[in-house]
């Protein structure tokens, strides 16, 4: 197909995908506390309010804390599983992968309800830390996928060479495996972090009444009407996601992570 109709198609898709975000960005710099577009005046005050208004700032800290801890937890769960599957060429690797994917493909409401039932059965319903564990398990798929790809990319002759020279499993892990899969650990961590930051339903069902994360705060605020701070927070979220995925793309192989063949591009 010639170049310009294709460009036009892409421009059109880009425009529609960006439209709601562009309007929110416009609304977020409104000077007055009203929902109008195009914006009247220009002010970054609503962004400042995220940090100065106690409630919003608290929600921001809660979100960042949950996202950081749960993404680390997800990697800590995924790392031994991915290592085990790679080291022992486990025949049930495929089953584990499908099981890991299941909660991700199924409607999130189901997972959320499952966790709610689980924690209330244990008598721990509402404890702030339960959301960290729930997210860590819910998002374990992401580091599991990136790490599986990372282990697959290790040249087996390197491991063989080390073993021949007398290195045991632990030495191989420390000197060869770990340095090679580090970028995959980071990208798994980053994926889980961004998704946990944006996750609403699991957090809401598990700790909705005791801990207010940013998505919960936005939803609660929406019910009582509009404040421009929501728009500012939304812009912040889009920026964080774009930054993180941009960094993954800059330092890693994003098409390969998403399932494209890599050798075609070489």
């Amino acid at each position: 197909m010639s170049a310009w109709p294709t460009r036009l198609v892409f421009a059109l898709f880009g425009l529609v995908l960006a439209a709601p975000l562009a309007v929110v960005a416009g609304v977020s710099v409104n000077e007055k506390k009203s929902l109008t577009f195009p914006p009247e005046g220009f002010s970054l005050g609503w962004f400042g309010q995220i940090f100065t208004d106690g409630e919003w700032f608290h929600a921001l800290l809660a979100s960042l804390g949950v996202a950081a801890l749960s993404s680390i937890l997800a990697v800590l769960i995924a790392l031994p599983i991915a290592w085990f599957l790679w080291r022992w060429h486990a025949p049930f690797a495929r089953i584990v992968q499908v099981l890991g994917l299941a909660p991700f493909i199924l409607p999130p409401v189901i997972t959320a309800l499952g966790f709610l039932a689980f924690w209330s059965e244990l008598g721990l319903y509402g404890q702030p830390w339960t959301v960290v564990v729930s997210h860590g398990i819910f998002f374990v798929t992401l580091p599991l996928v990136t790490l599986t790809l990372g282990f697959d990319a290790i040249d087996p002759t390197l491991v063989e060479a080390a073993t021949t020279m007398g290195a045991d499993d632990r030495a191989v892990l420390r000197t060869i495996v770990f340095p090679l899969i580090r970028p995959y650990i980071v990208s798994g961590l980053a994926f889980a972090f961004v998704l946990s930051l944006n996750e609403y339903i699991v957090a809401y069902m598990v700790v909705g009444f005791t801990l207010e994360t940013l998505p919960i705060k936005i939803f609660n605020a929406l019910r009582y009407g509009y404040t421009p701070t929501m728009a500012a927070v939304t812009v912040l979220f889009v920026a964080v996601a774009a930054l993180v995925f941009g960094l993954i793309a800059r330092f890693g192989d994003l098409p390969r992570l998403l399932g494209a063949w890599s050798h075609r591009d070489e």
Binding site: P20, L106, P107, I110, I218, V238, F245
Partner: protein, 264 residues
């Protein structure tokens, strides 16, 4: 180990779905089908029918839009692909709360697209476009589009480019090559993607609330509503079990279809 993490909460949920609800309180252990019976009433039957229909429509629209888009995308230079993938992932990772808020702003009377139409003289007066069925549909397609592209991306990027070249050499136009070679060749991929997006759309729990009227609430919304606001866990669990069964069945079907295509 991983299995236990998921199987235990799901098991408890299944058990709870048979429990007896204590009005005003939580629930007590029992074994009764009351929750499932209630689900079979006309009201919930209507909600179920609406949810399935809406999700099917969302899946169809998303795939019709995303398939040609992805087909064009994998032919672009790598750098362009990466930029688009970053953009799509950013949209996909956004919370439903944020997507719902963004679209309700775009559909609002004071800050919406109708203002633009008024400005260029197409319309006389700005109007609110939500809540409405169309608003729900647009929001859900928007949410599903990046997901659909990313599900299609591996299959389309692995597609043998010589197939199209052969068709073109034999004199087919690009459109003809697309519809007679690519689409039939990837029939199973398309069907399994439709199923995946259908299940994805079934999970939408906030957009129908934020962009629609109560008539447009889906099963996922009702589950949330029963669990949190009506604190009727057994009934919510019964609906969730039903949703799991439908979803798992469909996902299994799409896996089988996907495998058959690889085997060919």
């Amino acid at each position: 180990m991983l299995g236990a993490f998921f199987v235990v909460p799901f098991g408890i949920m299944v058990a709870v779905s048979f429990f007896h609800r204590v009005p005003g309180g939580f629930y007590e252990p029992a074994f009764e089908f009351a929750n499932y019976e209630r689900f079979l009433t006309a009201f919930f039957g209507g909600v179920l029918g609406f949810s399935l229909g809406l999700s099917a429509l969302v899946a169809a629209v998303a795939v019709v839009l995303a398939f040609p888009f992805t087909y064009l995308l994998v032919r672009r230079p790598r750098r362009v692909q990466v930029i688009w993938l970053v953009f799509l992932l950013s949209v996909l990772s956004l919370s439903e709360v944020i997507i719902g808020f963004a679209w309700s702003t775009l559909f609002s009377r004071t800050a919406g697209i109708t203002n633009l139409l008024v400005a260029i003289g197409v319309m006389d007066q700005a109007v609110a476009l939500s809540p409405s069925f169309e608003a729900v549909l647009t929001g859900m397609v928007y949410q599903a589009f990046p997901y659909t592209v990313l599900v299609l991306y591996p299959a389309l990027s692995r597609l043998d480019p010589t197939l199209v070249e052969a068709a073109r050499t034999l004199g087919a136009s690009p459109f003809r090559a697309f519809f007679t070679v690519i689409v039939p060749g990837l029939r199973n991929t398309i069907v399994s993607t439709l199923i995946m997006v259908f299940v994805f759309a079934l999970g939408s729990y906030l957009l129908p609330q934020l962009l629609g009227r109560p008539q447009q609430w889906t099963l996922s919304v009702l589950i949330t509503d029963q669990a949190i606001y009506q604190s009727n866990m057994p009934f919510a669990a019964a609906m969730a079990v039903f949703l799991v069964l439908v979803s798992l069945g469909l996902v299994g079907l799409s896996l089988v279809l996907g495998r058959r295509e690889h085997a060919q």
